[in-house]
Structure formats: structure tokens, C-alpha cells
């Protein structure tokens, strides 16, 4: 394996000293980049892009050509696992992800099984290997998966939902069924992330996009318990180096202590929590990743710089902070504003280190 030239991101996740605060952006390879849209057009669809390792490699590297980011993240979708389970993922134009088959009753739950990752998700592990070769040690590569609960939201609802009432009603009415789905999902997510790690992912992130839609008690039972199960099953070392795990529950600020205790190395936080408070609560235990409001990127470069400065100041001096947005970058973001963010982090953050 090639030597890693920039390990700032991995060091920050382990709360080791760095010269500056590393930065990457959730959904950094995406529709706000014209070159991404060109590749996607060529591929024919978003799913074709995900399923073609060469195309996935190309778009994964695109943002790195524009901005000096400190990490790359596998280009893929959080819903590859339920697709591999046979639910039939598709994207209706302008409508987000949908499944041909939902999982709403005893019979559908009985049919669910952990997919054979090598047979069904080879396109993902191939992409990971190919991206690693293309990166050639430039920056670390992040692998990822949706959380068991977040996958269940889509599997039960059959797509996105404004209030998730079908999946939540199942959790309240038939907790037995819900736990069976979640246990299957947890074992699938662990196998999937381990396959990504074996293929070369140098850190992994679990996206719990919909955990924050639950009540505090339900979050612990239906989301965090299964994230904890996943983390316990992960391979934590590869190529002679620790593989850090980041857990991000959008809207999970109230539950930080519980999340930080799940076995992960870092917790992603959205912009509703002050980083200073998050650090005071869990900073001795985990690194923190976040947390600029992505809508700040709709303001001009000076306002962006000022807000980047606020986030850095809020975390304060010392190790353990990975700069990121608090959620994925919007498709309507001007790319030069993303450039202004990365520049501001790299210019302003050394004052908080060394």
C-alpha cells in the first residue's frame, strides 16, 4: 500500500495533535459540481453512477481536484443494502429514493436476510479499491453506510417521508417486527462496512439521518442500540492502522453522551448545537465532526469566513475536531463558496493548534 501523505483527518479523529483542523464536506461529490453533473449525465442515472466503480471513482475524486480537502468519501448511496436485500431501489425523477417492495408485515420481515456482500455489493467494494488506487495516498478514504434505523425508515415507508408515521407506528405497535428488521440491518451494515474496510476504506461513517425523528426513549431502543451493535462488530484495524468510526445522528444533540458511549471514535453533530457545549459534554471521550450550517454557503465569501471562524472558535484550541458541514452540501451551492470554506478552515485553524 502507498504511504498516506496527509493523515490529518485520521489523526484528528483519534484526537491526536495536528497542525490545522482537517476539513471535508458531506456530499462533497455531488450535484453542486458541474463536472459531477456531466459524469452523471454520461452514466445515465444516479444509480448507474453508484454501480459503476470507474464512474464512482471519477466523481469521488472530482471535489479533490477543486479543493484541498483532507479526506475523500466513497461515492455511493445509503440505500445500497436494502437494494441488495431485493427491495428494488429506484429514483423517480425529482422525488428521491423509492423501493418497489416495502417491509410492512410479518411475511415481508420473514423474507429479509443479510445479503451476501461479495455477491450483491461487489460494485461498492470494487469502487473502494479503485478509489484507493486513484487516490494514491493523497488523503484517506472514508467508507460509509446508513444506520440500521435509517435504512428501516426507507424499507418500511418505501421512500422518503415527512413524518415517518408508518415505520414509527410499527415500532410502537409491533416492536417485535421492528427489532427483527433492525437486527438484520445491523448485521448487514456491519458486514458491509467490514467489506469496505477490507477493500481499503481508512475510516467509516454511519449516517443516522432519521434517528433524530424519534423520541429520546425510542432513539435509544430503535436506533442507538443497533448502531452500538454495528460498531461492536467492526474491524477496527487494517493495514497496521486504526480504522476510526464516526457516528452521525442528525438532530442528536440532546443525546450526545449516549452516542459518544456507543464505541465510536468520533461523533458528527449538526449546527443546532454549540461545538463548545458538545466538547464540554463528550470531548474527553470522542472527537467531534461538524458543524457549519450548509445554508451559510449561500452567503458570500466574507460571511462564510466569519462563520467558519465562529465554528473553529467554538471548538477552541487543541486536537479532536474535524471541520464539516452539519448536513450534506446543497445542490444549489456555488462551488466557489465551498472553496471559500475550505480556504478559511485551512487559514484560520492553525491558530487553534500547536
Amino acid at each position: 500500500m502507498t504511504t498516506l501523505q496527509n493523515d490529518t483527518f485520521l489523526r484528528a479523529l483519534m484526537r491526536q495533535p495536528t497542525d490545522y483542523t482537517p476539513v471535508w464536506l458531506m456530499r462533497q461529490a455531488g450535484r453542486y459540481l458541474p463536472e459531477y453533473n456531466a459524469t452523471r449525465k454520461q452514466a445515465g442515472s444516479f444509480l448507474n453512477l453508484c454501480k459503476n466503480p470507474s464512474a464512482a471513482t471519477e466523481v469521488t475524486l472530482q471535489p479533490l481536484e477543486r479543493f484541498p480537502l483532507d479526506a475523500a468519501i466513497l461515492f455511493s448511496d445509503i440505500l445500497t443494502i436494502p437494494d441488495a436485500m431485493g427491495l428494488g431501489l429506484y429514483f423517480a425523477e425529482g422525488e428521491g429514493p423509492k423501493f418497489e417492495r416495502t417491509v410492512r408485515d410479518e411475511a415481508a420481515v420473514a423474507k429479509l436476510a443479510v445479503p451476501d456482500i461479495g455477491a450483491t455489493l461487489r460494485y461498492v467494494t470494487d469502487a473502494v479499491s479503485q478509489i484507493r488506487r486513484a487516490l494514491n495516498g493523497r488523503v484517506p478514504l472514508i467508507g460509509f453506510s446508513g444506520s440500521p434505523w435509517t435504512l428501516a425508515c426507507y424499507m418500511v415507508e418505501g421512500g422518503g417521508s415527512s413524518d415517518h408515521h408508518t415505520v414509527k407506528a410499527m415500532a410502537y405497535q409491533r416492536p417485535d417486527l421492528m427489532h427483527r428488521i433492525l437486527d438484520t440491518n445491523a448485521r448487514a451494515v456491519a458486514a458491509y462496512l467490514n467489506a469496505q474496510i477490507e477493500a481499503g476504506a481508512q475510516a467509516v461513517m454511519i449516517f443516522d439521518t432519521w434517528g433524530g425523528a424519534l423520541s429520546a426513549a425510542a432513539y435509544k431502543k430503535f436506533s442507538l442500540a443497533y448502531i452500538t451493535q454495528v460498531v461492536a462488530l467492526l474491524k477496527r484495524e487494517n493495514e497496521g492502522r486504526r480504522v476510526p468510526v464516526i457516528v452521525f445522528t442528525k438532530g442528536g444533540g440532546l443525546w450526545l453522551e449516549d452516542i459518544a458511549a456507543c464505541g465510536c471514535d468520533a461523533v458528527g453533530v449538526d449546527w443546532t448545537i454549540e461545538l463548545s457545549q458538545a466538547r464540554a459534554r463528550v470531548g474527553a471521550k470522542v472527537a467531534l465532526q461538524g458543524n457549519l450550517d450548509p445554508t451559510v454557503l449561500f452567503a458570500g465569501p466574507e460571511a462564510i469566513r466569519a462563520e467558519v471562524g465562529q465554528v473553529l472558535a467554538s471548538y477552541g484550541k487543541g486536537a479532536g475536531h474535524v471541520f464539516n458541514l452539519g448536513h450534506g452540501i446543497s445542490q444549489f451551492t456555488p462551488p466557489e463558496h465551498a472553496a471559500a470554506l475550505v480556504k478559511a478552515v485551512h487559514e484560520l485553524s492553525p491558530a487553534y493548534h500547536g
Copy 2:
């Protein structure tokens, strides 16, 4: 004025002893009730319903005929103020509220002014008076308004938004313009709520539906500061009795201490926070209103009763709790499930009082 026969709700808001925990439901007069849909059909549209005091009175009382609720809430919309400012509120079928004119630049902001409530929102104060007469002292009547920030979200975006990036970009890029809008809104909201109080509203609630979309720092500057301004301007006594003020910021659980310090009597909380924790943090200062996840009402009566029990147990013994959902009831809720909720609160809560 008629004597109030059931003041449990008002007493709970003042953290005075009661025999049981009072209950009402956000959006209790709404589309989940067939009788509401019939009246609305007759009125021709949602806005006609809001603007006709007799029809508004009719639908306000409908849920009280079905369930022994402890409060009535004025049937109206949070966007009546910007409509009165001349922005042209309308509802596109199945699309939510929209405005014909948005407020996005210096010129549009310069045109904004506090509307003459008597001239433009007479239909609301007439509805309040008429509902009070129709209630005849049965339970107290709640008046309400959107918060200055929540109104601004719709005024700048021109309707609903998934990420509010236009209004948030304005806040970051042109805070001067944003503060002018918010100051106008705050004075308008205060005048509007005072007019409702003078017409007979016995408690008022400020709905800050979109405050939780802001960062912690931006919430304090752009939402809470103006809620505080509104609360300071309110008439707090009428008919020889205190008029309690409830402030509800959806997603505001991380900022409870700040919200509780705004001058209000009670804080509404959504289901992401444990009531026990909320009470430990601010219960000595304010009453709490909430916080069952409305999706629990998609489960059956037994599951509903169990979850009601959890919410009551989480608040624990003693005064200062108004039972409610953590957000508006869904239009797809079976009415008999709302009945099961009210029944469970009335049956299970006496154990926590006296």
C-alpha cells in the same frame, strides 16, 4: 363574563396544583375530523374558513364535542400577519401556504409595516369573541401567532422550504435587512396577540415552527431575541386573571434554559427531549407543555395508553405539566385514537397529583 368551569389548563400553566394533568392537542381542530372536512368543504377553502368567524367558531368547538379536552384553541393560521401586511397568502392545492409577493430586498423590506390589526385582522378578533361566547366558560380559549422568525421564513422564502436557504442566507449576508423584518414582525405579533387577549383569549401561544432550523447562535439572535421582545409587549392580565404565555420552538430542546428565560410562563417541547430532563433543567421557572410523538397515534389504543403513561411518568409528580403532542396532530390520525389519548391522560394522570 361567564365563570370558567374548568381552569385546570390555566392553573397548570401557572404551576399551580390541579387534580389531573390537563390536555389539548396541537391542531386539534383539523383534517383528521370528518366534521371539520365537511365544514371546510362548505366554506370552500381553508382561508375562507379562517376568515369567517362563524365557521372558525364551529370548527374550534368540534374537537370539544368529541373529546373532553381542557382547552380550546382559536382556529386560524400562523400566516395571517404577513397576509395582513399585503403579501397575498394563498394555498395551492396539496402544496401548503404560499405568498404572491416575497420580501427579499431592500425595497420590499422598506414597504413592510405593522398592519392595523383592527382594520386587517378583525376577522380573527371577531372569531375570538364569538368562540368565547360559544364556549360559555366550558374551558379556556388559547390565542396564538407564529413567531417573528417563523413568519419571516415564509415571507422571504415565499412558502414552505426544506432547508430555508433563502431566508438563512439573508440572515448571514444581510443581517441588517433581516433584523428590520424581524423587528416589524415582533411589533406586529405583539399587537396581534394583545388584540386577541382583549377579544377574550385566556392564554396565548407563540409557535416558533422554524426556530429549530437555525444554529444555536443564530437562534438566539434571529428568533429568541424577537420572541422575547414580543413577550415583553404583551398584556399579561385580563378579566382579572393572568394571561399565560406559552413559547414553543420545535427542535429547541438544546436551548431550553434560554427559552425559559424569555419571560414566558410555559415552554412547549417536542418529543426529542425527555420531560424529566426538561423539568430538571427549567421546571423551577416555567411549566412544560408536551410531548408525545404524534405518530404514536398511528399505533393502537393500548400502545397509545402505554406511551401516554411514559410521558406522564417522565414529567413525574406535581404541578406544571400540560399534556400535548410534540407537534400538530396528523391529518391521517384515526379520531378514536385521539380519544384514547385524552382518556388515558385523564385516567392515568391523577396519580401524579394531590
